[in-house]
């Protein structure tokens, strides 16, 4: 699925608002045909602006956007082979559900019979069959969102853009709709580009994710790569939970970098040869083990006291504070069924992990 040709090419695109705001800063990326692509980043990082430039509602200050090989700089929104699902859904309140879905066909002079057929089909696709006669204010938020989806899909666009499509839904419905969107995308085979600030959403749905910060793309990779191999502190911190230590490079041998971290000692981990000076060492909470006794020499280990335990049902987070005051979070799977907590606040123990489970971050 994810191996298609680029359908959207964004080339060195910058968008400025006025003199001071640079919402999108020199972004270049390709979105491939048939993939589920996510733009992820904190609020205000320029995701919406980038999406709106693809849709044609904003013009790039610099750079070029190509859709299906065609330069879009002179093409108005209504002539682009893409459709958008708006964050507010923008389902027309004065039209029935069926009229909403049929609108995009009606304005392009599709025959009436075909409109009815295709609108019905699209409503069926989003599981709203039979609700065509309703008015939008007789629908729930989730249903309205499906109407917006059907209205865009009925146009059979090359790309579907979705701006935070699930942010207005409650947690349960949001999860259901995430699965639903993935199912839909498989069913219709259209390229989806989704904007979200929810990392779980991006990781669980997308084939590839672009993580943005201050208008720039910091990393573009498949979800597992983003999670296991973040390329900078920002991504490491933004995606999932991460323990971050400040250290420095003590030596390099081939593919291995010898680092020294205060309180953890010296250890080698895989890394690029160019690393030097101050670096960040990161390890995911679920890679860290808790030990009552001092672990073997080949493990990275730090001694500390449990300062807090947070129970989440399937797993627990244990926070251990070491002698220097650093807090290390550890994720424990609650494998056995017991009401007895394995660790309690005040326990003294060791946090340990394999050196190669930690990650070197030079920026």
């Amino acid at each position: 699925m994810a191996e298609g040709q680029p359908i959207i090419r964004i080339r060195e695109v910058t968008k400025r608002f006025g003199q001071t705001v640079t919402a999108v800063d020199d972004v270049s990326l390709d979105i491939r045909e048939g993939e589920f692509f996510a733009l992820l980043g904190p609020s205000g990082c320029g995701k919406t602006t980038l999406l709106r430039m693809i849709a044609g509602f904003e013009t790039p200050s610099e750079g070029q956007i190509l859709i299906d090989g065609q330069d879009m700089s002179k093409v108005p929104p209504n002539r682009r082979p893409i459709n958008m699902v708006f964050q507010s859904y923008a389902v027309f309140p004065h039209m029935t559900v069926a009229d909403n879905v049929g609108y995009g066909l009606k304005v392009t002079n599709v025959p009436k019979a075909e409109i009815r057929e295709r609108a019905e089909e699209a409503l069926e696709l989003v599981k709203l069959g039979g609700l065509g006669g309703r008015k939008p204010d007789q629908l729930s938020g989730g249903q309205r969102q499906r109407v917006a989806l059907a209205r865009a899909l009925v146009k059979r666009p090359k790309v579907l853009l979705l701006d935070e499509p699930l942010s207005a839904l409650d947690a349960k419905l949001r999860e259901a709709m995430q699965l639903e969107l993935v199912r839909l995308q498989h069913a219709v085979g259209i390229t989806f580009v989704i904007v979200t600030h929810d990392q779980n959403e991006a990781l669980s749905m997308a084939n590839r994710v672009a993580v943005m910060e201050h208008g720039r793309v910091r990393q573009l990779a498949p979800p597992s790569e983003l999670y296991e191999f973040p390329n900078c502190r920002f991504v490491a911190d933004f995606i999932g939970k991460m323990n971050l230590f400040e250290g420095r490079v003590a030596g390099i041998s081939g593919e291995e970098v010898l680092v020294e971290v205060k309180g953890l000692g010296r250890f080698s981990l895989p890394g690029e040869g160019e690393a030097s000076g101050e670096v960040g060492i990161a390890v995911r909470p679920e890679k860290v083990r808790l030990r009552r006794e001092k672990p073997d020499e080949d493990m990275v280990a730090v001694h500390g006291k449990v300062s807090e335990v947070a129970y989440y049902g399937g797993s627990s987070f244990v926070y251990v504070t070491d002698e220097t005051g650093r807090t290390i979070s550890v994720n424990l799977q609650n494998e056995a069924r017991t009401a007895e907590p394995g660790v309690t606040i005040g326990d003294e123990l060791w946090c340990a992990w394999k050196p190669r489970d930690s990650l070197l971050l030079s920026t």
């Binding site: 509602f57 002539r79 459709n83 507010s88 027309f92 309140p93 008015k135 204010d137």
Partner: protein, 305 residues
């Protein structure tokens, strides 16, 4: 409302003065006129209330019905003109940059700061034979003539021997224009308020779905501002129906509207009972217009609900 009911002292303190005002200066005079409309004129100032219907019978004579009808048509045309001109103006203001918006809105309501009578007199200065428009036209005529003279066609007097002022004043067109001018802000303001409120994403969604600008306007923007259109139409139509000094000042002998007839009954004709009957017929007509509005917007609501 709920919380007001819980605090009756405040409720009455706040509502008593306006209620008193409405009662004494609106309902009571209205009642008096209503009673008078069933009276008979006895002397110069004597009116005897005999509960006769003669005044109403006279009011629906063809002569007056015709004037009623003409008033409705003229008010209707003026309202339509207000809408056609006012919608683009309201639209432009709603989509103008923030700072320009305030200036444009002030420009629209600025004429309100001047008495309506004076504004109407000002229109006379614009429309009359020796008024601004005719001066402008005369200047154009002279320029055209000079131009013709330059190319050697001056002798032929192609544009006539002398400039003849266009009769802009003292006809129905002048009255209609006067009404449009007087009530224009009443149309623009509710429209502006409504257009301003539209969520921009509806417009973007329409464009995104392949509709052009015009299509988007007629299929999305206009229907979404329907309530503003209705409000504007009613707010302009109702006072336009009763206008009397505009036709008085700008109209010709055949430009009498129902407002003029009513005014004359209370003044020069000194026939209060008949004036009262005409007034109430006009008011019933207005109620009819309001009921129509309620029905139309109620039906829309019903569809949306």
């Amino acid at each position: 409302m709920e919380s007001w009911r819980k605090n009756p002292v405040v409720f009455w303190l706040l509502n008593l003065p306006p209620a008193f005002w409405l009662f004494v200066f609106f309902l009571v005079p209205l009642g008096i006129v209503w009673v008078i409309s069933f009276g008979e004129k006895r002397g110069v100032i004597d009116i005897e209330i005999t509960w006769t219907l003669a005044n109403y019978v006279r009011a629906v004579e063809p002569l007056y019905l015709e004037i009623f009808w003409k008033s409705i048509v003229m008010a209707g045309i003026a309202t339509l003109a207000c809408l056609i001109v006012g919608y683009p103006v309201a639209f432009a203001i709603a989509f103008a940059p923030e700072r320009l918006k305030a200036i444009l809105l002030i420009a629209v309501v600025l004429p309100f700061w001047i008495n309506a009578l004076i504004r109407t007199y000002a229109l006379i200065a614009v429309f009359r034979s020796r008024g601004s428009i005719n001066f402008g036209l005369e200047w154009l005529w002279e320029q055209a003539n000079a131009l013709l003279g330059l190319v050697g066609l001056g002798e032929l007097a192609l544009l006539g021997e002398k400039f003849v002022p266009v009769p802009l004043l003292y006809n129905n067109t002048a009255v209609t224009l006067g009404i449009v001018y007087a009530f224009f802000p009443f149309m623009v303001l509710p429209l502006y308020a409504n257009i301003e409120k539209i969520d921009r994403s509806y417009i973007e969604a329409s464009l995104d779905l392949g509709a052009g600008q015009w299509r988007t306007f007629f299929s999305v923007i206009f229907p979404l501002t329907w309530h503003g259109v209705l409000s504007g139409v009613i707010i302009v139509f109702v006072p336009a129906l009763g206008a009397f000094f505009i036709p008085d000042l700008l109209g010709g002998t055949d430009s009498q509207l129902i407002g003029n007839v009513i005014e004359r009954q209370f003044k020069s004709a000194n026939d209060w009972p008949f004036g009262g009957a005409l007034s109430f017929l006009l008011m019933y007509l207005t109620f009819g217009a309001l009921a129509l509005r309620a029905a139309v917007s109620g039906r829309k609501q019903g569809l949306e609900a």
